[in-house]
């Protein structure tokens, strides 16, 4: 460390001895200054083109009356101030009401899905922490839902949830005798639970993978010391494993929350373009209301509101969890 700190300081002094050396030093200094930016340039251009500029455009569009007549030349659409926002947030009218309902459904769905994903992932990772026969096989097996392409997995679930020829009704109705007639799973109120099952099935392996990685960073001697003190497995899990996972959990829960709240693929493949009301997640709702009515101004306003909500939740969450961690350390 000391050596690397000294070298750059001495280098210019040596080079200054000859005038030509001074020039190359300056030039290489400038080049060194530009180098990190050159390295970043491709990433920067792509991020601007695909993420940032479209997002700013989306924000601009939310202030415009952007109907199908203006799609070809969106810049010429008339400005409409906050009209799109007031339409979206007018909960007495149809548009606002259905948006609010979709938002609340999404909140409920997200809390349940993230909670279950976290629970299953953590439980599996901790139970697989110690070696036993078959551990490697199970670890690989549990990652299969994560590896399967979303649409292939969700299409299979859609088949399982078919009313007349699906597995779920065969088990529940034919084999266990629940209900007078086979239930509908992909329309009506049941669709919420169908969507939740698919979402948890698809999402928990990521929690498993992350927690598993986090477990590898816990020093072994902590367990050794605890077991010398006579702490059993359950005590070790409660007092060593779970507290050590806190930093991992902080990131994991946030990432799961954002993915689940924004999830479009799962409901879109499970239900097709029109999701039943009970499972009308907000991304699909915005997509539908934009493309059905071709009113992209209002759709953009809804997306901006969604983004604002996610920003606020993320900010508050990071503030709370970071502060909580600091005080618990003291």
């Amino acid at each position: 460390m000391t050596q690397t700190a000294v070298t750059p300081a001495r280098e210019p002094a040596v080079r200054k001895a000859t005038p030509g050396g001074a020039r190359t030093a300056r030039r290489s200094g400038r080049r060194r200054l530009a180098l990190p930016y050159l390295l970043l340039l491709p990433a920067l251009v792509l991020e601007l083109l695909v993420h940032l500029v479209p997002m700013l455009m989306g924000v601009a569009m939310s202030f415009k009356e952007l109907t199908q007549f203006y799609i070809r030349d969106w810049a010429s659409a008339p400005w409409s101030g906050l009209d799109n926002f007031s339409v979206s947030l007018d909960f007495d009218a149809a548009v606002g009401q259905s948006l609010l309902k979709s938002f609340l459904t999404t909140c409920q769905f997200t809390v349940l899905s993230v909670g279950l994903c976290w629970l299953l992932g953590t439980a599996a990772a901790i139970l697989l922490q110690e070696n036993f026969r078959g551990r490697g096989v199970l670890r690989t097996l549990f990652l299969v839902p994560y590896a399967l392409p979303v649409y292939a997995a969700v299409i299979t679930w859609a088949f399982m949830f078919q009313r007349d020829n699906g597995l779920i009704n065969h088990v529940l109705h034919d084999q266990l005798g629940i209900g007078d007639s086979p239930a509908f799973w992909l329309i009506g109120d049941n669709s919420f639970w169908a969507l939740l099952a698919v979402s948890v099935w698809k999402g928990w392996p990521f929690a498993f993978l992350t927690v598993m990685a986090g477990l590898q960073n816990i020093p072994r001697d902590m367990y050794e010391a605890a077991s010398l003190d006579g702490a059993g497995v359950w005590k070790q899990i409660r007092h060593i494993t779970l507290p050590s996972l806190r930093p991992v959990n902080q990131v994991l829960v946030l990432v799961l929350f954002l993915w689940t709240f924004n999830d479009f693929n799962t409901p879109f493949v499970l239900f097709g373009e029109a999701a039943p009301e009970a499972a009308d997640l907000i991304s699909l709702h915005i997509y539908q209301s934009s493309f059905q009515t071709w009113n992209f101004g209002t759709g953009s306003a809804m997306s901006v509101l969604l983004l604002l909500f996610l920003l606020v939740v993320t900010g508050v969450y990071l503030l709370l969890t970071t502060r909580g961690r600091k005080t618990s350390d003291v």
Binding site: E47, V53, G58, I71, A124, Y151, N165, V233, L306
Partner: protein, 294 residues
């Protein structure tokens, strides 16, 4: 497995054998989870081998008749081979470019201090929380306008989709690789520079080889992201550039669904990614350990 047999003879916890309550919890929970995970896999495989009459009637746990017909029919009912080619080209190209771009960016973030570094990393990471729906339409308009102005067809073409997907996996890839590069001792590339390597040579001679697990992990992630994406693929492709995601989604929402064929097709499109993933998963765990979890 052999590693388990003679690795560490006594694991730290073994002085006290785990109590029976723990062993039973482990057995029950892991059995239930295995069933939950395997259920759709079993349905997919068994239904893909049934004749059409059997998948249209009541579900059967044990197929009464087996046939390989669905696997032959899928290539005729829909242009599955074309979708396959499109998906492979798009996901493959997006992966290669994404990994290269991420390596350069992560090298800059990990090894240099420069103005705007924090702004860059925070901005790039925060794009992860954008709802896709917010920039779907603007991006569509940008691609159409670029096409009108320059004649480069981005909308409806594979190139446009490649560009989109490679950017989607970029934030996570940069983040993970930066963490990975940080864990490689600086002395290694300093030594290479003393030996006369320029910064780029040092990157490819020293850092890239040392970070191979992280790079593999990022590549797997990028490929899976591109292979499984539905929303942008359904808006930004046309009949000739349609990917598997859109093709299969359409296949399964027709009026009369041939479920045995749909299951066979789902299995066929899953095999390349699942096999690749399972072969490389240890790198992903290693990459996550070094990169994301700090």
């Amino acid at each position: 497995m052999s590693e388990a047999a003679h690795g560490r003879p006594s694991r730290p916890r073994s002085p006290m054998a785990p109590p029976r309550s723990f062993l039973w919890t482990r057995r029950i929970v892991l059995t239930l989870l295995t069933g939950f995970v395997l259920l759709p896999v079993y349905v997919m495989i068994s239904s893909s081998l049934k004749p059409l009459e059997d998948v249209s009637g009541k579900f059967e746990w044990i197929p009464s008749a087996l046939t390989l017909r669905p696997y032959a029919d899928i290539w005729e009912t829909i242009p599955l081979a074309d979708y396959f080619v499109n998906s492979i080209v798009v996901a493959g190209a997006a992966t290669v470019f994404s990994v290269v771009v991420a390596i350069f960016a992560a090298y800059a973030v990990s090894r240099y201090s420069f103005r705007g570094k924090r702004v860059f990393t925070v901005t790039v990471l925060s794009t992860q929380m954008f709802p896709g729906i917010l920039f779907l339409l603007p991006l569509f308009l940008i691609y159409v306008n670029i096409g009108n102005a320059t004649g480069i067809a981005l909308f409806g073409s594979r190139e446009g989709l490649i560009l989109t997907y490679l950017t989607f996996s970029l934030p996570f890839s940069i983040w993970m690789l930066t963490g990975y590069f940080d864990s490689i001792p600086r002395e290694l590339d300093e030594a290479a520079k003393v030996d006369g390597c320029g910064p780029i040579r040092a990157l490819f001679r020293v850092i890239v080889p040392a970070a191979r697990p992280g790079i593999v992990a990022v590549a797997v992630y990028a490929f899976m992201t591109a292979w499984g994406e539905v929303l942008f693929a359904s808006v930004m492709t046309n009949d000739t550039t349609r990917t598997l995601a859109v093709g299969l989604q359409g296949y399964s929402t027709q009026n009369d669904v041939y479920w045995n064929q749909v299951m066979a097709a789902s299995l066929v499109v899953s095999v390349p990614v699942v096999v690749g993933f399972l072969l490389l998963q240890r790198y992903l765990v290693a990459g996550l350990t070094a990169g994301a979890v700090k």
